[in-house]
């Protein structure tokens, strides 16, 4: 990046932010009630990229490796967009009754099950939990981003201090993402329970963040990637795809085998209605196609192919989040509506503007990129 392209980037980030903000207000005013389900989908998708980026950066603090150094600028900027998502969660917290059955007193009054689960699925407890999740995530992100920036500017060698942060941060991430996935997504079907759902959501977040960073790398890198680096990145992407498929299928297999009413309640509206087609699209583009392509060594060594696969995985993950959330609001009706496009343009736009702004803020350039050997271990 040169000085001119940095100021250009900042300029387009501000234009994007203003446009997205206008669209956001439009959505809130024109169609609040219909807007919120779409809001939740896009918000969860963007949150996934930010949190997944944080988790990958934490892992990289523990493992080291050239792969992480090449992706670090994009992952760091994505992680640093987290405050925008914390702000965007506030309107959701005040409209819980538009989203969740358990937040509607008249529904709870007639449902024994919801009364039973009321000790956890309670609006004010839910709000407090969300505040705690974001407090923890923002604290980890802040400490990590400070450490990475000092590292980049060679102010101090963070060494094992960041290693300890990474170990603790990953444990906190695993616990909080399980609870947050239960709160935000699983409770859309209050009768449903699945103990590995949090892990599946967290893995999907890391997959989407890794794909996003690969797309950014393809967009930003001028020179060709080293073949071995491209190969490593391809193998890591394949690992994310395999782990996602493993978790997603295991959850399905266990629930399919047991065939209990409380558990199949999640899959029936998603697989036995018009949503089945969307489920098949997710299976093909989130697993089958990238899996087959990434087996090939030649594909992994072609950065352009890798970028294309990462881009399609990112889109597939958006469809996956849509497929998880939307059937709760539009049973059997899988066609995207204009409110979805509006949410994508406004919330996605705000997030992307924050990302571009944080990315531009890394100038002057990252010293660590020029010396890929400079990785530290815990």
């Amino acid at each position: 990046m040169s000085r001119a392209s940095v100021s250009r980037l900042k300029q387009s980030a501000s234009i994007l932010a203003v446009t997205a903000l206008i669209l956001y207000l439009l959505g809130m005013v024109l169609a609040a009630q219909r807007f919120f389900p779409s809001y939740l989908v896009v918000w969860l998708f963007c949150l996934g990229i930010s949190l997944g980026a944080m988790a990958i950066l934490l892992v990289h603090q523990l493992t080291g490796g050239a792969w992480g150094v090449s992706l670090r600028p994009f992952l760091q900027a994505a992680m640093e967009s987290l405050p925008v998502l914390a702000l965007l969660s506030i309107p959701l917290l005040f409209r819980l009754a538009d989203l969740y059955l358990w937040a509607r007193p008249e529904t709870v009054a007639v449902s024994g099950l919801l009364q039973q689960k009321g000790w956890y699925l309670d609006p004010s407890l839910f709000r407090w939990r969300t505040v705690i999740y974001f407090a923890l995530w923002l604290a980890i992100a802040y400490a990590l981003s400070r450490g990475l920036t000092q590292d980049r500017r060679n102010i101090a060698a963070p060494g094992h201090r960041l290693g300890a942060l990474a170990a603790a941060g990953l444990i906190i991430y695993a616990v909080t993402i399980t609870l947050a996935a239960t709160d935000w997504v699983m409770s859309l079907t209050p009768v449903w329970r699945s103990s590995e759902f949090g892990l599946l959501v967290g893995e999907g977040e890391m997959l989407s963040a890794f794909s996003f960073a690969l797309v950014c790398l393809g967009w930003a890198s001028r020179g060709p990637l080293a073949l071995s680096l491209s190969h490593d990145l391809g193998n890591l992407l394949l690992m994310f795809v395999l782990l996602w498929a493993y978790l997603a299928f295991m959850q399905y297999l266990v629930i399919w085998s047991e065939d209990l009413p409380g558990e199949i309640a999640w899959y029936l509206p998603r697989l036995e209605t018009g949503w089945r087609g969307v489920g098949i699209i997710v299976t093909v583009f989130h697993f089958a196609l990238p899996f087959v392509l990434l087996l090939s060594r030649r594909v992994k060594r072609r950065p352009l192919m890798l970028t294309a696969i990462a881009g399609s995985l990112l889109l597939a993950h958006l469809v996956d989040v849509f497929w998880q959330v939307m059937p709760a609001f539009r049973p059997g009706d899988y066609m995207p509506r204009w409110s979805d496009a509006l949410a994508m343009a406004s919330i996605g736009g705000l997030w992307l503007a924050a990302f571009l702004w944080r990315y531009a803020a890394q100038w002057p350039p990252n010293a660590a990129i020029e010396t890929p050997g400079a990785v530290h271990h815990a």
């Binding site: 071995s228 299928f249 399905y252 297999l253 399919w256 085998s257 065939d259 087996l295 060594r297």
Partner: protein
């Protein structure tokens, strides 16, 4: 011309890498390198050609997976059908874990035995062990130019190898 080749010894991995690169640039194609640990980039310089292990692994995996699925389908649907909780006899989700395991097993076995076959292993004799200082449990790195290389000439090749700054050069007998 009964020799296996000429072998130069180097004291460190970097010197071997540079030497291999020079030999390759000089036009030698039949070169072999021996190191006590994997040296990144060396395989590309020395070997250069693609091997068929990935193909073996793919075939083994497909064969293992298809065999595993067919075995379960045959036992559950044809040979010994049991009504299990009213599920269809051909319940594909239940077949996936075993199919997956056998895919991995097939691919791993094919890759392992394919590697042995392509390397000509097991093998009880190899000429390079005739070199007196050939010992890969120490910090020694060897570059061997095969006598069957088109550009190989005992005297000229020895002179060329000497320009690479080796610790030692020996003739390797068959």
């Amino acid at each position: 011309m009964n020799d296996y080749g000429l072998m130069a010894e180097f004291g460190e991995a970097g010197a071997l890498l540079r030497a291999a690169r020079r030999a390759r640039a000089e036009g030698y194609r039949q070169i072999e390198a021996y190191t006590p640990f994997p040296v990144e980039g060396l395989a590309e310089i020395v070997g250069g050609r693609r091997n068929r292990i990935p193909l073996f692994a793919l075939a083994g995996g497909l064969l293992g997976g298809a065999g595993g699925y067919l075995l379960q389908w045959y036992t559950a649907v044809i040979d010994y059908p049991i009504n299990s909780g009213g599920r269809p006899l051909h319940s594909w989700p239940a077949f996936i874990p075993t199919t997956f395991e056998l895919t991995v097993l097939g691919a791993a076995l094919a890759a392992f035995f394919g590697m042995l076959v392509l390397n000509g292993l097991p093998r009880f004799y190899h000429p390079v062990f005739n070199a007196p200082r050939f010992d890969l449990s120490r910090d020694r790195f060897f570059l061997c130019v095969r006598a069957e290389d088109d550009r190989f000439e005992p005297a000229a090749t020895r002179i060329f190898l000497e320009t690479l700054g080796p610790v030692d050069i020996v003739e390797v007998a068959h």
